[in-house]
Each structure stands twice: as C-alpha cells, then as structure tokens.
C-alpha cells in the first residue's frame, strides 16, 4: 500500500539545510496497523507528511497504492489525499463553525456528493464512532475525545486505503486515548491500513507493528509480540464505557 524507498528530505535552515529523513525504506501493506515511535525531532511528522502528500521529498521513490507520488500537481495531490488517505491530527483540526456532521461530511463535499446524501453518510460514520447524538453540535461543545472521534469519522468517510494519525492521542487523557484506539482498531479490522505516530508505549503496543525512528533513520522495525486489545483495557478501566 505504502512503498517508500531511499526517501531523503531536508529543510532549508538559514543558509544551510537540516537533513531530517536520511534514507527511509518502508513498506506498509494493506490492512496493517503500524505505529512509529521516536524521540522528538527524529522526523516522525516529516515522514507522515511525506506519506500524506502534504509535503514533498528530495530523493527516493514513493508509491502510494501503486501510484507514483512525485511532482504532482496540486489538483492531483488533492485527489489522492481525498480518495486514498485519511488524516487524524493531534489537535483534531475540526472546522469550528461547522457542526460535527458537516465536519465529517466535508471530504465528500470535495468529491461533489450532494449535501443531503453526504450528511446522511456522515451520520452513519458518526454512529460508528458513537457520536450520532452529537451530530448537530459544534466542536467547541465536544470534549477532546469526542472531537477526535469526529475527526476519525471524517477521515473514514471517503473510505480511504490508509489512515495517517500523527499523535492522535497526544492531547487526550489515558482513558479517552484507549477509546480512540479502540475505534481505530475496529476500523483496521475492516481492512483499512493505519499508521500511528506516538510517543506512548501503551499506545504503540495496541498496534501490530512498531517502527523506531532515530535521527531520520529507521532503527528498528518489528512486529508487536502480542498486541493489546484497546477494548479490553478500556473495559477494565472503571467508568470508561460511559465517559463518551
């Protein structure tokens, strides 16, 4: 699904440049659930941005679902982002003046789906993340966990092949983090590849494969021995089920 070969990227800093990705080779297959860890500044977000076609790279080759991603026009990039990718951000990035349903429906707007139809679809995805009763609420009226679940529903609505989540639980407390992970796990079971950047070990142990990034290189890339089911942990924690 995602094929990275010898990816290099540097940022211009002052007169010189900062070499951030120093030859990344990475293959992520369909239906995988992968976490990326690494110290701050190791290049995790940069890697995610390259994979998300939000940023370009200097060297190497990137195939996304067999499409070569290189020097794309903005239009084409927009198309791939819309059809193949779903994004979940640390700070949710919901549009403040739209309600939950409209936020979720937005990717379909860019596909030209008529308003009524896309709002209908948005409701089914809100149901999936357990927020159908909050459809008419603005983001500011939702808790952090709820906002992130709305964001996940939004990432899902275009039925992408890959979901890229950069520290999706970074702004959430432990219990809510597990709930969000439970939702992501369910999605993954339905066949969507998921890549999660995190610096929390318990989160990374809820994925099937763990990649360590150090100073722009992949230091290790191993399967997680026995992935934790976030639902079981969430259920064990008292009062979690209702805290939605």
């Amino acid at each position: 699904m995602i094929d990275l070969q010898g990816i290099h990227k540097s940022y211009p800093v002052g007169k010189g440049k900062l070499h951030v990705l120093k030859g990344i080779d990475l293959h992520i297959g369909a239906g995988e659930m992968v976490s990326i860890m690494g110290s701050s500044g190791s290049g995790k977000s940069t890697l995610m941005n390259v994979m998300g076609i939000l940023d370009d790279y200097d060297e190497g080759e990137y195939l996304l679902d067999r499409h070569r991603i290189r020097n794309l026009s903005e239009r084409k990039a927009a198309g791939y982002r819309n059809k193949l990718l779903g994004f979940v951000f640390q700070s949710f990035n919901l549009i403040p003046f739209k309600n939950a349903m409209e936020n979720v429906a937005l990717p379909l707007y860019y596909q030209g789906v008529p308003r009524r139809k896309r709002n209908e679809i948005a409701l089914t995805y809100l149901e999936k993340v357990g927020l159908v009763d909050w459809a008419e609420h603005r983001p500011s009226e939702l808790s952090g966990g709820q906002q992130q679940r709305v964001a996940i529903a939004r990432a899902l609505i275009s039925e992408p092949k890959v979901i890229l989540a950069d520290e999706p639980t970074g702004a959430l407390d432990t219990t809510t983090s597990y709930e969000v992970m439970a939702v992501l796990r369910d999605i993954n079971r339905e066949g969507t590849s998921i890549v999660i950047v995190t610096h929390e070990h318990d989160i990374s142990h809820m994925t099937d494969r763990l990649i360590h990034l150090t100073d722009g290189r992949i230091e290790s890339d191993e399967p997680v021995p026995s992935p934790v089911d976030p639902r079981s942990v969430a259920a064990a924690a008292p009062g979690v089920a209702e805290s939605a």
Binding site: L54, E74, K83, I95, Y109, Y110, R115, R154
Partner: protein
C-alpha cells in the same frame, strides 16, 4: 454553475465573522453611495444647465448693435449702430448658413393692453414669423404670426397663455380683439414657452405692422437667427460673415469689436458641454477613487481572513480541496460581500437622490438630480469587478497555503 454548497460555505464563514463582514461591506457601500451621490449631483447640475438653455435655440446667433470704437474710412468713432429693415435683409440674404431669422423691435414707451374692462402691461415684441424657432415657442391654440401677416401689415397678435389668462379670464381669446394703446389687434394664436415664466407673458406682433403703427424710432433691438446643425467652427464662420456683411453695409471696421456684439450660442453651449464633461470626469475620478479605497479595504480584510483561516484552509486541502476550490471560495466571498454591500449603497444613494429631487426648492441651476439605469448597470459591473479584484490577492495567498505549514502543531 450555481453551487448551493459553495454558497452555504460562504454564508457559514460570513456568519462566523459578522462584525468583520459588516465593516468590510460598509466601506464598499460607502464608496458606491458616494459615487451615486456625486454622479446624481453632476446630473442635477447638467440638467440645470440644460434647463438654462431650454428657453432658446442653442444653435442660434444673436447680433446686437453697439457703438463704434475705431475710426473707419474717415468716420470718427462713437457712432451708434442700430439695425433697420435693410440690414436685416442683408444678413438674411447675404450670409450663408442662416436658417431661421428674425429681428426684434420694441415700440418705445410703455404700452397698455386691454380687453373689455381688463387691463395689463405686457412685454410686446415685434418679430418676424421665424421668431418661434428662436424662442422655441409652442403654439397652443390657433397659429403663430406668418408671412402674410407680415406682408399685409395685418393687425394681429400671438399672445402668451399668461396673457390670455390675465385678459380673458379663462375664455378663449382666438378671434377676439385686444387693444394696444387703443389700437385693436386680432388674436390669432396663443402659445406657451419652455423657458421661464415671463416668456409666457409676452405678446408678439408682426414687425412690419408694428413699425408702421408705432412709428417713432424704426430701429431694431437685435437680429437673431439659427444656423441649423452647424458645428462649432462652422458657426464661428457664420458669425464672422455676419459681422463682415454688417461692417460693409454700415461702414464700420470688421475688427471693431464694439460696433456690433455677436453672441454665438453654439459656442456658449459648447463651453457648457465641455465644462460638464470636465465635471463628469472629475466626479468619476473621485468616485472611482472612493470605490478603490473600499476595494483595498475589502482586500485587506480578506487578507486577514485568509491569514486567520490558514489552518482551516490547510485542513481543507488535506481533506482533498483543490486549489481552485479554495480560490473560488475566497473570490466568491469577496464578490458576494462587495456586491451585496455595494448594492446596498447603490439603493441608498438612489433613494437619497430621489428624496432630494422631490423636496428640492425650485432652482434653475440644480434640476432633478438622478442616476439612470445605464449608470446603475455600470455601477453593478464595477462592483463585481471590484469584488474580484479585492479577492484576487487574498485568494492567491490562500491557494498558495501549503497544508504542512498550516497543520503544524505549535
């Protein structure tokens, strides 16, 4: 083309920024309002000037006798120049380009006019039949003076409608006889005049009859004629020819500016026309300047809006928004705000002009300030263009936003 969703998007963002939108709109509305008021006032001024010229034919030349100021062929300066019938005929027959021509002769002393027991003093002008073209006299009943009256020295009169009202008290005057200094004149017609009220208080008599009856000084006050559709230069030539013909006949120097006075109304009118054109250009310059200021205001505010919405635009791009969808969002919002606000200013300006127009005390210099449909259309086109210009730079900035920059967590 009509994308309901896009409008929904625009209304959403406008609703989210009510105050800012209001302030933006105000600057544009003000610009258009000012433009409309200025243009309307300009039209009022133009109408006023046109009104001034409505009294008389604008394609006319008036010649008045004066006093010689230069010695000429042994004649000392200081001679009075007064036209007589022969001079009139010389101009009529000797100057090319003369269309309708008349002289004016005023009998001396004040003449009383009466009908039955009704008396009045009215201005009595003795003229040639063509006079009606010079004054734009509009015959209401009967007819104006004609050549037969002139040739047969008929004692007939054409009277203004005010005269008829004054002497006949609502009855018809046609065929009745009025007395002028005791001499009966038959009323052959009544008229109204587009000019000022006093033009309706005149009595016209055939100049031949008048000369014979009121005797005394047989000199004319002035000679006046129209020049058809002669242009400015042509009319100036005709004026010059007239001067030459008279100079030859009456023996004064052609260079003697004071011997006869020639008023070329074509020239006068032309002067006002170019004055008006100047005023109009001035108004447009100011008006466009005001609108431009509004446009810059909108542009600035949209720029800030785009700046503030950087993250949102980044999110949209991450979700699959094409650059064009972002550009058109900003452009459309800009055009929408300017169009609505501008239209508001337009309507308000037109409304105010109407109000002024209706309540304005009668003035000859400022008449019926208004804007026409054509102008409203021009203003509307101007508005949409202005909106597009105002939105252009912000839209380009928005399209250039890179999602990575927008989405970076601080």
């Amino acid at each position: 083309m009509f994308d309901l969703d896009k409008w929904q998007e625009i209304l959403d963002t406008i609703r989210a920024n009510k105050l800012r939108t209001l302030l933006t709109g105000f600057s544009v509305a003000w610009g258009i309002f000012m433009l409309i008021i200025l243009l309307g006032s300009g039209n009022g001024l133009a109408n006023g000037i046109e009104y001034q010229f409505r009294d008389d034919a604008v394609n006319s030349i008036w010649v008045f006798g004066g006093q010689t100021s230069l010695p000429h062929r042994g004649l000392a300066p200081g001679r009075q120049i007064r036209f007589k019938a022969g001079d009139f005929a010389a101009v009529r027959d000797g100057v090319d380009g003369v269309e309708h021509i008349t002289a004016r002769y005023y009998p001396q002393g004040s003449l009383t006019v009466s009908y039955g027991s009704e008396y009045g003093t009215y201005d009595i002008r003795s003229v040639h039949p063509d006079h009606q073209y010079l004054e734009k006299t509009i015959v209401k009943n009967g007819r104006f003076l004609n050549e037969v009256d002139q040739e047969q020295f008929r004692k007939v009169a054409a009277i203004g409608q005010k005269v008829e009202q004054g002497l006949f008290k609502g009855r018809s005057s046609i065929g009745e006889y009025i007395n002028i200094n005791g001499i009966p004149f038959k009323v052959v017609g009544t008229f109204e005049d587009a000019g000022s009220e006093s033009e309706n208080e005149k009595i016209y008599l055939p100049i031949s009859t008048s000369e014979r009856i009121f005797a005394g000084d047989k000199r004319y006050r002035n000679i006046m004629f129209t020049v058809g559709d002669a242009g400015l230069v042509e009319s100036q030539g005709i004026a010059q020819d007239t001067r030459a013909v008279l100079a030859q006949r009456m023996r004064f120097s052609e260079d003697d500016e004071r011997a006869v006075f020639v008023r070329n109304n074509v020239e006068e009118f032309q002067r006002f026309v170019s004055l008006m054109a100047g005023i109009r250009v001035f108004i447009w310059v100011i008006g466009i300047g005001t609108i431009l200021a509004g446009v810059v205001g909108v542009s600035n505010i949209m720029m800030i809006v785009v700046q503030e919405r950087t993250r949102e635009i980044g999110v949209r791009k991450a979700l699959g928004a094409t650059p064009w969808s972002i550009v058109s969002l900003v452009l459309q919002e800009s055009i929408f705000i300017t169009a609505i606000a501008g239209y508001f200013g337009l309507v308000l300006g037109v409304f105010l002009l109407e109000l002024v127009s209706e309540n304005l005390p009668a003035s000859d210099f400022f008449v019926n300030p208004n804007v026409n449909l054509q102008l409203a259309i021009v203003a509307t086109v101007l508005l949409v263009t202005a909106g597009a210009i105002a939105g252009f730079f912000p839209a380009r900035k928005a399209a250039g936003i890179r999602p990575v920059e927008a989405l970076r967590d601080e």
